[in-house]
Amino acid sequence: MTMAEQAYQEERMALADTELYLLKGGNGRPFLVLHGVEGHEGWLPFHDALAANATVYVPAHPGYGGTARPEWLETIVHQAVFYHWFIERAGLAGLDVVGFGIGGWIAAQMAVMCPQNLRRLVLVNAAGIHPQESDILDIFILPWKQVIERGFYDAEACPEYHRLYGGEWQEFGGPREAGRTMSIRMCFRPFMYDLSLPGMLGKVTLPTLVVWGADNHIIPPECGRLYRQAIPGATLHQIERCGHWPHFERPEELAGVIQTFLAP
């Protein structure tokens, strides 16, 4: 942990009627990491692994605790606009981006919207596409502790599970509740998809890697195949014995796959 504490710094940037909170660490080409449904979980071992050869930006999306939601921001499309705004303001055009779950949906929407700001795209267990053969797990109707546990292939064996969720369970309030609230605001209905997204993704020409946990019980692996089909030239990498959160369960393996894909 002492390595990690030294490996990054906190930054805040006034932007789009709010103040963007982010962690930044490492050296090299800029790499934007977009978190998922419950929000920012701080600087992770996964970020450390990436920081070996990239400058890693880990922001909290507006509405997810660390960054307040500006009044105008209500949807995934708005989040995508917000991050393009950030890229342009920070002079980071040409960066790589990876998104997890809802963050993956934001990244996909960013690629549709303004690909010239991006170099390469990584979507990890991304929301946004409606599966045909099964359903995305209705996480907004289940007790949240069950959702967290179902997100892992093997929660008990995962050190990140114990570090993040092993303490006293906070049932109400806190930054994770703020995150879930923003996710509900954006993704409640239709639940976690945009029927137009696959059609729009046809215009994406960025090199794209889609990563899926073979045992993802939240967003079915079928959605990974649909993303690969929708984005011309995309490749799909499946991680075995892994659920919805490979950055928690398989941080080294995931970072390795991503670094190989991003290598020039």
Binding site: I141, P143, R185
Partner: protein
């Protein structure tokens, strides 16, 4: 205004064994409707309507009705359907809707039209209560919980405007938009039917009601907590510039009357017929993230209140006035105590639940009308 007395039942669907709660998160929302027998439901609806007629005939000032979705404890999936029935089968009693769950309605203009029709058909007997609905109603109707408060307020403003602003006019709101608001159904009561707001614990709702000068009805919370909520109303009223009166506040209390104490005691147990399962629901159903914008404390308190009732022993529930049961003389004394302690101008009597038979229910209504009501009106 003298205190008004209203008859209430949730119209429970009793054709299943509450013991199935062991296999489900709660007796609502996902409880399989394969347990629903339409023939029994048909009988029950008609039976409950017959009982409303008796309440009307024996002199209750009003009949309180409500609405829940995917909920076997309340068969009223549409409060306006019951309201329309009451408009035609009763003659005197006010139709007290507590209330329409505004946030889960996608077309509030149609709601304004339906309510106006009910007011006209009933010859001006509608009291149009509105509620936010518990979080689980947002799930049942698939309406974003994060928009609950905003939709409640906008739907309310739109309905009042539809009733009071000469049409046609446009409505360009955040959640609702209309090219033409110009309903050809307007309420008989002017400027519009009286409004009411029920609640159990949320100070946010009390404050909203007080600011609009709408009567606030506490739905059976413990007396001490009810007094706290009333105090919030009183203080808000003072801030807004008026003095709270008894007609601004009301209380819902469980009350069953019978000829003998023994029989009343036996029947009163029906108020616990679901063994507390009503409030056995995940936090994510009761208050999905976003449903309670600022009031996490209120949600905690609501659950504490609900659970506290569920865990009460029967005798204890009677001792602290959560349930009032007995012969007319016995309930008169207790109801007077509660009414005068709280200083409420509206008393809603929850007088039927669980497996109470039609015969027992009718007898309770008759005893209340013929013996209890006159005594309460006297003193």
């Amino acid at each position: 205004m003298a205190t008004q007395y209203y008859y209430f039942t949730e119209q429970p669907y009793t054709g299943y064994d509450p013991a199935v709660q062991e296999e489900h998160p709660a007796l609502r929302l996902t409880l399989p409707n394969s347990l629903y027998d339409s023939r029994l439901a048909s009988e029950l609806y008609n039976r409950y309507h017959d009982e409303y007629q008796v309440a009307d005939e024996v002199g209750y000032d009003g009949i309180m009705i409500n609405e829940h979705h995917t909920a076997p404890f309340c068969m009223q999936a549409s409060i306006n359907i019951t309201g329309a029935v009451l408009a035609k089968i009763t003659r005197r009693a006010k139709i007290i809707m507590l209330g329409n769950p505004l946030p889960v309605v996608d077309n509030p203009l149609r709601l304004a039209e339906e309510l106006a029709m009910i007011d006209c058909i009933s010859r001006g007997r509608l009291v149009s209560g509105v509620v936010r609905g518990g979080g689980v109603e947002s799930l049942a109707n698939n309406v974003n919980p994060a928009h609950n408060r905003e939709r409640f307020e906008e739907a309310h403003d739109l309905i009042i405007a539809a009733w009071t602003r000469p049409g046609p006019f446009r409505w360009e709101g955040k959640h609702f938009q209309y090219r033409v608001v110009n309903p050809w159904a307007l309420p008989l009561q002017k400027p519009h039917p009286p409004m009411m707001v029920p609640g159990t614990a949320s100070p946010e709702t009390v404050i909203w009601a007080a600011k609009h000068r709408y009567p606030y009805i506490v739905l059976g919370s413990f007396l001490e907590q009810t007094q706290e909520l009333i105090q919030i109303y009183r203080e808000t009223a003072e801030e807004v510039g008026y003095e709270m009166q008894p007609e601004n506040i009301g209380y819902l209390i469980r009350c069953f009357v019978s000829d003998t104490e023994e029989h009343a005691q036996e029947q009163g147990k029906n108020f616990f017929w679901q063994n507390g399962a009503l409030n056995k629901q995940p936090r994510e159903w009761m208050a999905p993230p976003g449903y309670a914008t600022v009031n996490v404390a209120g949600i905690r308190r609501l659950r504490a209140v609900s659970r506290a009732f569920d865990s009460l022993a029967y005798e204890e529930a009677q001792k602290n006035y959560q349930v009032v049961i007995g012969t007319p003389d016995q309930v008169i004394e207790k109801l007077r105590y509660v009414r005068d302690l709280l200083g409420v101008g509206h008393m809603c009597l929850w007088s039927q639940d669980g497996y109470m038979t039609h015969q027992d229910t009718v007898r309770s209504i008759e005893l209340f009308g013929k013996e209890v009501l006159p005594a309460l009106r006297d003193a």
